[in-house]
């Protein structure tokens, strides 16, 4: 067993002549929340997709439990317990909560001992219980998911990933489309997941969301890593500075200070 449940060692990803990722090294310790910070175009999406098994790295190594892996599809990553919750959440709005929860992995039973059918009662009960564990009371697990709020949907997607054996949860901008209160709920959710021993990679461009829940932070800028910092070695302001490009931020601040109306 390695100390790191998941690691990228000097990973690069090329699309034709475009170098999307350059020598990224990132190590996720078991049970930590690792925040991946970067502005738009920093390469966050490519990195997520590489972790999720959508892309294969052009160079470098991808390790799970210390062993090198090559994923040919997202389902292979899933089999290793690496689950990705994308921004679109992979939910179908017209389907019920229970059916969404088990979409693609329907619980089955035999009708009259012969015909394989979906165990809808089990699905409904499980979906309701798992969401309740996350602090969301579902009014009716048979209601369409379109009736839920953005935060509740995020919660469902996370609860689903955990239920299906995720050890590593990759969250792609989970707070991007949410209001203040709902973002707070999602942050609580991340904290709860960590308490249950699940390692989390939290992708965001919002340092204010990342800092309170994160244990370590990797910063991305234009396809390169600016380094990984643990919480005790870096302050929130330092992170903010690095994200905005340090010196540039200073200049910008001083320019703004000079503005008078």
């Amino acid at each position: 067993m390695s100390e790191h449940i998941l690691a990228l060692e000097n990973v690069s990803k090329r699309f034709g002549s475009v170098l999307a990722l350059q020598n990224i090294t990132m190590r996720l310790r078991e049970g930590e929340v690792h925040c991946l910070l970067g502005d738009n175009g920093a390469g966050k999406s490519t990195l997520i997709k590489t972790l999720a098994g959508v892309h294969k790295p052009t160079d470098g190594q991808y390790l799970v439990d210390g062993k090198p892996v090559v994923f040919n599809s997202p389902s292979e990553a899933l089999d290793m317990g690496v689950a990705t919750v994308y921004q679109d959440l992979a939910l179908v709005p017209l389907l019920s909560v229970a059916r969404n929860f088990f979409m693609g992995r329907e619980p089955m039973k035999k009708l009259l001992g012969l015909v394989p059918v979906m165990d809808i009662d089990y699905a409904a009960e499980t979906a309701r219980d798992k969401l309740a564990e996350m602090g969301i009371m579902v009014r009716d697990p048979h209601q369409a998911i379109g009736t839920m709020s953005g935060g509740e949907k995020q919660c469902l997607a996370i609860a689903r990933a955990i239920h299906f054996g995720a050890r590593v949860l990759i969250l792609d901008e989970p707070t991007a489309a949410l209001g203040v209160k709902q973002s707070f709920n999602v942050l609580k959710l991340i904290y709860k997941a960590r308490e249950r021993g699940i390692s989390v990679i939290f992708i965001t461009h919002n340092v204010h969301h990342a800092y309170p829940v994160g244990d370590s932070f990797t910063l991305l800028n234009r396809g390169k890593s600016l380094g990984t910092f643990t919480k005790d070695t870096v302050s929130k302001d330092a992170l903010l500075d690095m994200m905005a490009g340090g010196a540039e931020m200073q200049t910008l601040m001083s320019e703004l200070d000079g503005v008078t109306i």
Binding site: S75, L94, A124, H142, A144
Partner: protein
Amino acid sequence: MTALKSSLASPGMNPPPPPGASSKPVAAADERVGTTSWVKRFFGRPEFASISGAVLVFAFFVITAGDSGMFNLDGVVNWMQVASYLGIIAIGACLLMIAGEFDLSIGSMIGFAGMMIAIPTIYFHWPLWAAIVFAFAGSMALGWLNGYIVIKTRLPSFIVTLAFLFILRGLTLALSIMFANRTIVSGVGDLAAQDWLASLLFHGNVATGLFQWMGAHGWIAVLDDGSPLVKGVPKVIAWWLVLAAGAAFVLSRTRFGNWMFAVGGDANAAKNVGVPVRKVKISLFVFTAFCACLFATLQVCDVGSAAADRGMQKEFEAIIAAVIGGALLTGGYGSVVGACFGALIFGVVQIGITYTNINSDWFRVFLGVMLLIAVLFNNFVRSRVTEAR
């Protein structure tokens, strides 16, 4: 119809278990939960429009043509037969629509499949059963091709199948002229009565013994020679009911049914959680082609001939029935039971209108209006379903 009724309770969203069924305290914790009556729940179901439409249509004809013989046994068999033919293809169209795709080539497929049965039988002297097997294999292969092109090219199925609407109709005409030098190939009727496969599955009636018995007891009308006026339930009706019950069951209760809703609702989301989107879509194109071929086989065996213009515009009627039945054009929502009631409305109106004093030219006007009302209503239902209750 009992099978249909029991499956009413499932597609899309299922009614929650009865209050006593769950002992989990968390379930009852939210004080914001109002109890919804079954009436309200029925309002929110996809088949609501078509069932209430069917009730209205029945009421209309009971009032205007109640004593005309429309609701005698022979009258009922008459409009049920029309509804059954349409119902069979409406089931295929409905499932495909739920999975988010269209098939506009259904009507042309009916004509083509009919010729695939009649020409080999009459001109190449194949046994009828072999020709029927050939037609089913051929149609389903074409259905697969339709689906494969749609999936591979990612073109809208509307365009791909529109192309097949013309290709197949043109082929039907060209090939029937080439092989038979005519556009109507007849003489299959007698063969159908003798052929083991056709007489077993496609030709004639079921439950003839029961009708004989009922006639002998004077419960139903009989002819002068003592045989019942209606000899049995035409096989097309039996096929429709069996197919409807099967499709409704698969859609609401099985894993494959869940996948249909999932790929139609959001193909990308479905793919991301491991649903085999291509497989689901292609197999439904094949199923739709199967339904079209079943329509053609039953028609050829019943009428005794195939014609190059058979099935003209049936694709639209099938889609209309599915839409009246609550299917959304955007996919992910719909009901087999609803589509069947949509087909029933068709049958009742098309035949019923001849029993009244109303000129039958008004049939199409009625259909168009019905479609429009159904779409508006379904829009309303969808917004109810996806908005917070």
